[in-house]
Structures are given as C-alpha cells and as structure tokens.
C-alpha cells in the first residue's frame, strides 16, 4: 500500500514545487513590465499588425515598417492568433499605419503578458524533462533553478523583449521526448520548432544523424518503414508551414526575408565568438605591418558601424563569406556527428544539441549574443551530472549572462542586470556545493549523525572542503575577477578617465573577454563528447 502511494505523492510534490519555482519567476517578470525594451518590441508589434490587417499573401511582402516579417510562417501564424486578443485589448495595437511606434500602456502590458504567458511552454518542457528523466530530486531542482530562473531568459525575453522562453520550451520538449526514446515525437517537435525560428536549424545535423541511426537503423524493412514515417511527418510539418506560400508562389520572397545575408559577419555589438579573434588578429597585423612601413589600404567598411556592405572589412586576412562560416560550423560539428553515429544514446542528446548550438554560435554568420541561450539552457539538463559538468556550467552560464549586459545599456536597468547575475551566481554556487558535498560524504554524515548531530555536521562539512567539493579552481577564480575588472573598467573607469574617447573599447573588451571563456567551453565540450562512451 505504502509503496504504491509513494510515487504518486512524489509526483504531485514535484509538480507543485515546479509550479512554485515558476510562480516566483512569474512575479519577477510581472514586476519588470515597465523596464526598457528594445526595438524588438516594435518589431513584434508590427508583426501583430501585419498578420492581423493584411491577407496572407501580403505578409512577407509588406514594407510599411522597416521591421519586416523575417521569421518562418509558424511564428507568423502564432502572431496572427495572438493579434486577435490584441485587437480586443486595444485595436490600435494591430493597426498597420497608426500603430507605428505605439507605446501606450495597453500595448506594453499586452505584449509583456503575452511573453509571460508563453513561458508556460517552457514550464511544460521542463516538467516533461523532470517527470521522465531519471534524475535525483536535487538534480531536478537544480535544473529548475537553472532554466526557470535563468537570468539570461529574463534579460532577453522580459526586458529586451523576445519569445525565446516559448521557443526554448519547444526545444526542451523535443529533447525530453528523445531522452524518453520517443524519437518520432521528438523529431516532430523539432520540425515544428524550425518552422517557428529557423536559427534553431543549427542542431538539425545532430537530429538528422541521431534519428537516422537511433530510430531508423533497424533492419531493412523496418528501417525503410520508419524512415518514410519520419520523412512524412517532417514533410507534413513543413507543408503546413510553407504550403500556403508555395501555393502563392512566394517561396523566393519568404526565403530572402528569412536569410538576410547582406547583414555582415558580425552584429553591431560583437557576439563573443571566434570571429572576434579573427578581426582582432586582422587589425593587429595591419597595425604591425603599417609600423614596418608597408602600405596597407584601410578597409572602407568598419566593424563598429554595424551594417557592412560588399567591400571586405579585412585589411590582411581573407574575407569571410557566409559559405565559409557554413563550412566551418559543419567542420566543428563533424566530430560530434561521428560520435552520434557510432553510439547514439538518449542520455547524451542534450549535450550534443547544446554542442551544435555552441558551434553555430562560435562560427556562424551574423550571430547575436542572445543566441548563447540556445546552448546554455539545454546544457542545464546535464549540469548536475558530474562535478566537471557543474564547474564548466558555472563559468559558462555566468559568462553568457554577462555577455548579454550590453543589451540593457540604460542606467535604470543597470542594478537589475547586476542583481540578476549575482543572484544566479550565488544560487548556482550554493546548489552546486550542496549537490556535490552531500553526494561525496553522504556515508560519512550518516555515521557521524549517530554520535552527535551538531559535531557530525560540522566535521563533515570541513572534511568536504578539504577533499574538494565544488570549487572552480584558481584559474576560474582569476577569470571571474577579470570579468569584474572588465565591468568596472567599462562602466566606471573608462567614462571617468577617458570621457568620450574610444567609446567602443568597453564593448570590445566584453566581447573579447567573454569569447575567451566561450572558446574554452567549446573545446571542453568537444573533449567531453569525444571522451564519453
């Protein structure tokens, strides 16, 4: 009797605890409604207006606002659905002409609430993961802390304004199905996700190889049947998304909107990736050669300006084209793909997918700093697996959140972003310490408990510190202090000492400094994937 009741009770307590975590984060999100929002806010408002007031064949053609629709059709349908509610709240929100740059309270409240409500998808994804995956209770709570209370998501979604929580929720759902072994469902949801935001396609090779090997590689007849089922599902999803536009003969237009390659290698603020080093190397070489007396033509286009035209911005090094970046991403992915092919096991799926997004982030074309969420969130699933994972995640998560700081540049949000990062670091530090001290010394504590509770606890905790519980080592510590120094320089010393001179240096410093850790993390992950069996 008791044995039957126990899992039932466990389940409800899991659900209610998860809901509690989600509720707390929702309160914070509600409080952040009046905070700064970027132009992405107006972008999404404009999409509401486009989808609401124009017929389908105009969606990808309309140019009333510079913020044209450049997400795949499912996202457009999604905007179409919520635009009805927007119309009920305030018809001006969905007005194509009058609504331009509409900033009334109603539209802010409506759009912010729509993001908050959409986060329920993330909640469901996390719930699925924690329900089925055989995690210990502590690891589960740890994952909630890392995902549901993720500072990066709060900064990007609830301040800067985007719908990443919703999209990442789909990704988490897909991962949870794969981990359960329900490959078809996982593939289906991933296909749906691709039709919401095509940037997630970086992980498609991993999905492809994994599904082919783990789902379809089951003998000739069964394999052929499965491959056709999988193919049919994916084709059906894509047909639902793009079918209407194929029918209207607008595919060319849709694709040109979705892949604006005219935008240049780097975003206005450089995401901390490989290309930062490439550019720096180029500048350094040019400077050196000029000192040596060589005549180096100054490139016409500059990087700090943002938009880059056709001319090469590099003085020495060869130009980088979208094709180069594409090949580099595939090359970086290939070791992982081979590993997937050799040994497709469900429990490593999250790691592989995160690695794929990492490669896309490091070597991709026109990468936004926000894309770091794509690998930080899935990695949270495996962060509690081992001490090394925890150490790696601790630094990576801090750096990825820190690299988002330039998104919120106003004084009003400064304390918020700092506090969010601090809270996240302290939470991670405390929960990782708890996770790895108790695991290591559980037995010691039990024996000590019997004699004297107080003394036993004290003794064991000091033991653990000596034996090496959770710590990040002196390199990690130095790196974090450096991070602090970069922030203090950029925020306080630079404006104080140099005034308006060299305004791009603080951002440059952040990019380079964060890129160091991201590069290290990439190498670490690659090694981890290759070593694991």
């Amino acid at each position: 009797m008791e044995d039957q009741r126990k899992p039932e009770k466990n389940k409800t307590s899991t659900t209610s605890n998860l809901l509690w975590f989600f509720g707390v984060s929702t309160c914070v999100k509600l409080l952040l409604i009046p905070s700064y929002h970027s132009t992405d806010f107006e972008v999404h408002r404009n999409w509401l207006a486009i989808t609401h007031s124009l017929p389908l064949d105009q969606w990808y053609i309309d140019k009333t606002s510079p913020w044209t629709l450049d997400y795949p059709p499912f996202f457009a349908y999604f905007e179409y659905i919520i635009s009805f509610f927007a119309h009920l709240v305030d018809p001006k929100i969905v007005d194509l002409e009058k609504g331009l740059d509409y900033k009334a309270e109603s539209v802010v409240l409506f759009q912010r609430l729509s993001v908050i409500v959409c986060d329920f998808v993330l909640l469901y994804g996390v719930y699925r993961l924690s329900k089925n995956f055989s995690m210990g209770f502590k690891e589960r709570v740890l994952m909630w802390v890392l995902v549901v209370w993720s500072p990066g998501l709060v900064i990007v979604d609830h301040m800067h304004f985007q719908y990443n929580g919703f999209l990442l929720g789909l990704l988490m759902m897909s991962i949870s199905y794969l981990m359960e072994g329900r490959d078809l469902m996982g593939g289906f949801i991933f296909a749906v996700l691709l039709c919401f935001k095509h940037l997630f396609a970086v992980a498609a090779p991993v999905y492809f190889v994994y599904l082919l090997r783990h789902y379809c590689w089951k003998g000739f007849v069964k394999g052929f049947w499965r491959i056709s089922v999988l193919g049919a599902v994916v084709v059906a999803v894509f047909a639902a998304a793009y079918g209407p536009f194929v029918y209207l003969g607008q595919m060319q237009q849709v694709i040109s909107r979705m892949f604006p390659f005219g935008r240049g290698l780097c975003h206005a603020y450089w995401a901390p990736n490989f290309w930062v080093f490439y550019i720096i190397l180029d500048k350094g070489l040019a400077f050196l050669l000029k000192k040596l007396g060589l005549n180096i033509p100054v490139p016409a286009a500059s990087f700090t300006g943002g938009l880059v035209g056709d001319s090469s911005p590099f003085a020495i090094l060869p130009q980088v084209t979208p094709l180069t970046t594409f090949i580099m991403v595939l090359l970086a992915l290939s070791p992982c793909l081979i590993k997937v092919w050799k040994n497709p096991q469900p429990r490593s799926v999250a790691r592989w997918i995160a690695y794929a997004y990492m490669c896309g982030f490091l070597f991709g074309w026109h990468v936004h700093e926000k894309a770091s969420l794509h690998f930080v969130i899935p990695l949270a699933i495996v962060a509690g697996n081992s001490l090394e994972d925890a150490r790696h995640y601790f630094l990576l998560s801090i750096v990825s959140c820190y690299s988002l700081f330039p998104l919120l540049y106003e004084a009003q949000e400064y304390p918020i972003k700092v506090l969010l990062l601090l809270l996240h670091s302290v939470l991670m530090w405390q929960s990782f310490s708890a996770l790895f001290t108790t695991d290591a010394t559980a037995k010691a504590v039990v024996s000590a408990k019997k004699t004297d509770r107080q003394v036993g606890l004290k003794g064991s905790s000091s033991d653990v510190v000596e034996k090496g519980g959770f710590h990040i080592g002196w390199i990690g510590r130095c790196y974090l202090f450096g991070l602090l120094a970069v922030e203090i320089w950029g925020q306080f010393l630079h404006p104080y000492l140099l005034g308006d001179k060299l305004p791009f240096v603080p951002l440059l410093l952040i990019s380079i400094y964060c890129a160091l850790e991201i590069m290290y993390s990439w190498i670490w992950q690659l090694r981890q994937i290759m070593v694991s069996t």
């Binding site: 605890n17 409604i33 809270l423 929960s431 708890a434 996770l435 004290k458």
Partner: protein, 523 residues
C-alpha cells in the same frame, strides 16, 4: 530558554516531514546564516529595484503632486537654506507647499540625499525652479536614494536581528526555518510597495527600530535606547512602539540590582540622543516650539482618506467628525489608544521577556493604528514589522492573513498611484512565500481544524471579490467611496480580531512562564 523549547518541539516535526521538502531547502541553504542572508537579500533587493521601475505617488499631477514631490522638495529646502530656516515659514520656504513636518533626522537625511542629487543633477534640487521636477533621471536618482538607505539600514538591521534571534550557534536551528523567517521579514510586500513604489523612507525608521529590537534582545539596552531615539527622530510614527520599549526596558530595569540607577542611565541616554539630534534647534525656546508644532498636525482631522481603523470604519454609522469637536476627539482617541495598549504594557512591566517584548511591540503598534489620531493607511507598516518578526511564533495562517489584509487596506492607495500591477505581483509572491516548501509546514500545522480552514477560505474569497469589485465596478454616484469603505471595514474586522488574539497570546506567555517557574522550583 524559550528558543530551546521551540526547537525541541520542531525537530520531530521536520523528521516526519517527507524527505524531498528537506531536500529543496538543503540545496540552497548549505552555508550558514550569512549564506542564507546573502541569497535572500539579493533576491529581495532585486524585487525592490524592480518595483522602483513603476510609478510613484502623484506622478504627473500638478499642482501638489505627492509624497515623491514632498521628499524631493525637502531635499531642495535643506540643501539651499540654512538649517535654522528649515522649519520656518520664510519667503524662501513656503510651508504650505509640502513644508517639512518630520523630525530633524529626516531633515538631515534629506540634506545628504539632496547633496547626492545636486552632484548628479543640480536642476532637480534648485530652489523654486525645481518644483514638480519630473525627469527620468531625476526619478532614478531619487529611487536610488531609497534603495541605498534600505540596503544600508534595514538590511543590516535584519541581519543583526536574525543573528541575535537564532543565537550564536550558526550551524544549529532548522536552516529552512531561518531562511523562511529572513524572507518573511525582508520580503514584506507592503514595505516594498510603500518605499520603492509610492515613495517614502520607512526603511530608515523601521530599520532603526529593528536594530533597537535586536539590541534589546541581546540585552544591550543603551544601544537600544539610542537606536530607538534615532528612529523616533526620523519619523514620529515610531512612537507607536514607545509603550513596548518603555515597559520592557522599565520592567527589566526593575529586576536588576540597582533599579533607579539603571533607569537613570537609560533616561540620560535618551535625553542625550535627543539633545544631539535637536541641537541646531535648541538655541531658543521659540525655535524648539515651532519645530515641535510642525511635527504634531493636530489641526488635521481624526483620519485621512480611508484607513482601516476604528474611527474611519465606525464613521459609517457614527459621524464622529460632526458629533465632536477636534479637541474632544483628540482626547477620546488618546484615551482609547491608552486603554488598548495598557494591558500589554502591564504584562511587560510585570514579567518582561524577549518574546513578550515582541508581542508588546505588535500590540502597542496595533493599538495606535486602530485608535489613535491622524492615522494614515501606510501606518499599517508599523504593526507589520513586529508581526513579521514573530512569524515563527504566530500561527502561519494568521500572519499570512494579517499580511494580506494589510495589503488589501493599501490597495485603494496603490491603485491611485497606478501601482496595481506591482501590487498584484507582490501579492502573488507573498502567497507563494507562505506556501514555500519551508513555510508550508508552518501553515499546515495550524490548519488541522476544519473550522479554521473554512473561515480562512471564506476570508480569502471575500478579499478576492473586493479586489475585483474595486477594479471593475464603478461605485454609485451617491456613495463614491462605497467600495473603499467596504474594504476598510473588512480589513478593520481582521485587525481587530488579530489585536484581541495577540493580546491574549501575550498574557498567556506570562502564565506559561510563571507555571514554568513553579515547576522549576518544585524540581
């Protein structure tokens, strides 16, 4: 002694609880009290900053604006005029426009904050021209002055209190209980909304009081006197606690070796602190009396707006303002207040104890809130502070109910300030706090009887209905304040019941302790 007993009661409880609840808390609360405090204080600071993004009282409503403008105006006055003119009506200081009516410590605080504003944005405190100064940056600077005061005064006071309350044994005690207690004190939605939303500096006076309470608990009576006098000199409202401080300190002095000397020491400390704070105004009798008269606004009515106290709520039936003159009302309210806090005072002089002192603080501040003259709806913060300090003693459901009635009683005010969204967010957060894995055990323990559960559910339903009515329905033309009156009567009934309960509880304490003494003697 009392603490040890409490722990004994609790340990078997926590062991029988399901394991996972313990797991959640031990995931975060691995480090000692300092670690807990760090974590919770960062979170509550985040909440404060987030609330400060919202609107403030009197935003964009000339000519008088609201509390925000009052505070800014005081900074303008104190930074531009010599100290002797601060409280006087001169050509440069028009007292009818938000004249300074708080004690000198507030004036000094305004002066320092004014210097801060002047450094970054001189226009925001320039004499005359800055009236109704509302810029984004100006608002930000003002918000940061409150945040820094909160961080520098209230937070350390909470830490001091928690360290004293849970004694020296830092590893001992149920950590999740300690964490929950810290969270209940720091995440007080009413305080956050008033200070960082509506705009006031209650964190300073309440923080000083809390420091004094902690000093009393650690038996540093002189320090307690100094801190409490400072609190009184920041906001005269701190006098709500005066009976409790007086009775407890007096009672414990009587039990020492040389009572008259002890009392004399305390008295001199009080006088000395007052003398230092009031020094610039002591050079003439005239100056002193003018400042004093500024602090006691007796010419105003018995209550302002809608407050959940006795006078306002019974005025639905009895028109106090019409039946009596202001003078007789003043006397009446004084008598009523004294009669209400007298029992708790007597108890503390009779048998002073730490727990009894906390109850005394709660009872005397409730007495003032319910019956004294000129009470604001924001004054509910004063009883709430000791109520949160007693969170581990009071039944969880009751302290939750008190917190939420207090929130409801501030709802009309916050709606006027356009703060309905942060109000709702913090209301929800407060419920979640009480339902937190560690708080839940606390609440469940008292939900055993179905009668209690039933009445609490009814109360929450009523409160929900009142919220919805207030937000959606327009009151009838004949009674424009009908819904306010309903809300206030609802809250008043809760506060009154609560006062009766906590007074009874305080007296039970002394019975317990005397019986315990007897047992000891027998043993």
């Amino acid at each position: 002694m009392e603490k040890k007993q409490r722990k004994k009661v609790k340990n078997p409880m926590s062991e029988t609880e399901s394991n996972d609840l313990d797991d959640i808390s031990c995931l975060f609360f691995q480090k000692g009290i300092m670690g807990l405090f760090l974590l919770i204080s960062i979170f509550s600071l985040l909440l404060r900053v987030a609330v400060s993004l919202h609107s403030y009282s009197g935003a964009g409503t000339p000519p008088k604006f609201g509390d925000f403008e009052a505070q800014r105006h005081w900074m303008e006055i104190t930074t531009n005029l010599p100290i002797k003119d601060w409280y006087f009506n001169t050509t440069n200081n028009d007292l009818s426009y938000w004249g300074l009516d708080y004690p000198p410590l507030t004036a000094y605080q305004s002066y320092f904050h004014g210097l801060f504003l002047k450094h970054f944005d001189p226009n925001s405190v320039s004499l005359f021209t800055s009236r109704g100064y509302e810029t984004h940056f100006g608002k930000l600077l003002m918000r940061w002055t409150v945040l820094s005061s909160d961080l520098l005064i209230f937070f350390p006071a909470v830490l001091y209190f928690v360290l004293v309350y849970y004694g020296g044994n830092r590893s001992g005690g149920n950590k999740s209980d300690v964490a929950w207690h810290i969270a209940v004190i720091l995440i007080n939605p009413c305080l956050i909304l008033t200070d960082h939303g509506h705009f006031q500096y209650n964190c300073i006076s309440l923080g000083l009081t809390l420091g004094a309470v902690a000093a009393v608990l650690s038996q540093k009576d002189l320090l307690a006197c100094v801190l409490f006098c400072l609190s009184l000199n920041h906001k005269q409202m701190s006098a709500y606690y005066a009976p409790a401080f007086f009775s407890h300190l007096f009672g414990s002095c009587l039990r020492r070796k040389n009572p008259p000397l002890e009392v004399l020491k305390l008295g001199l400390t009080v006088l000395g602190t007052f003398a230092i704070v009031w020094w610039p105004f002591l050079h003439s009798r005239d100056a002193f009396s003018v400042v004093l008269s500024r602090l006691a606004p007796f010419e105003r009515g018995i209550y302002e707006d809608y407050v959940a106290n006795f006078w306002c709520c019974t005025s639905v039936l009895i028109k106090w303002k019409r039946l009596f003159t202001t003078n007789s009302l003043r006397f009446l309210s004084l008598v009523a207040t004294i009669l209400t806090f007298l029992p708790s005072m007597i108890q503390q002089i009779w048998s002073p104890s730490s727990k009894g002192f906390l109850y005394g603080l709660l009872n005397s501040s409730l007495a003032f809130y319910l019956f004294s003259f000129q009470v604001h709806e924001k004054s509910i913060l004063l009883p709430l502070l000791p109520a949160t300090l007693l969170a581990m003693e009071l039944p969880g459901v009751l302290s939750m109910l008190l917190m939420h009635s207090a929130l409801l009683s501030m709802f009309p005010l916050l709606c006027r300030d356009k703060m309905a969204v942060p109000y709702m967010a913090l209301y929800m957060l407060s419920i979640l706090l009480y339902l937190a894995p560690c708080g839940k055990q606390h609440i469940k323990r008292h939900l055993s009887r179905s009668m209690i559960t039933f009445s609490i559910v009814i109360s929450y339903l009523c409160s929900l209905v009142l919220h919805i009515i207030y937000l959606t329905i327009r009151p009838p033309e004949k009674y424009p304040f009908l819904f306010e009156a309903m809300i206030m009567n609802f809250c008043f009934s809760h506060f009154l019941a609560f006062t009766v309960y906590t007074n009874a509880k305080q007296w039970m304490l002394s019975r317990q302790s005397t019986s315990r003494d007897k047992e000891k003697k027998l043993n």
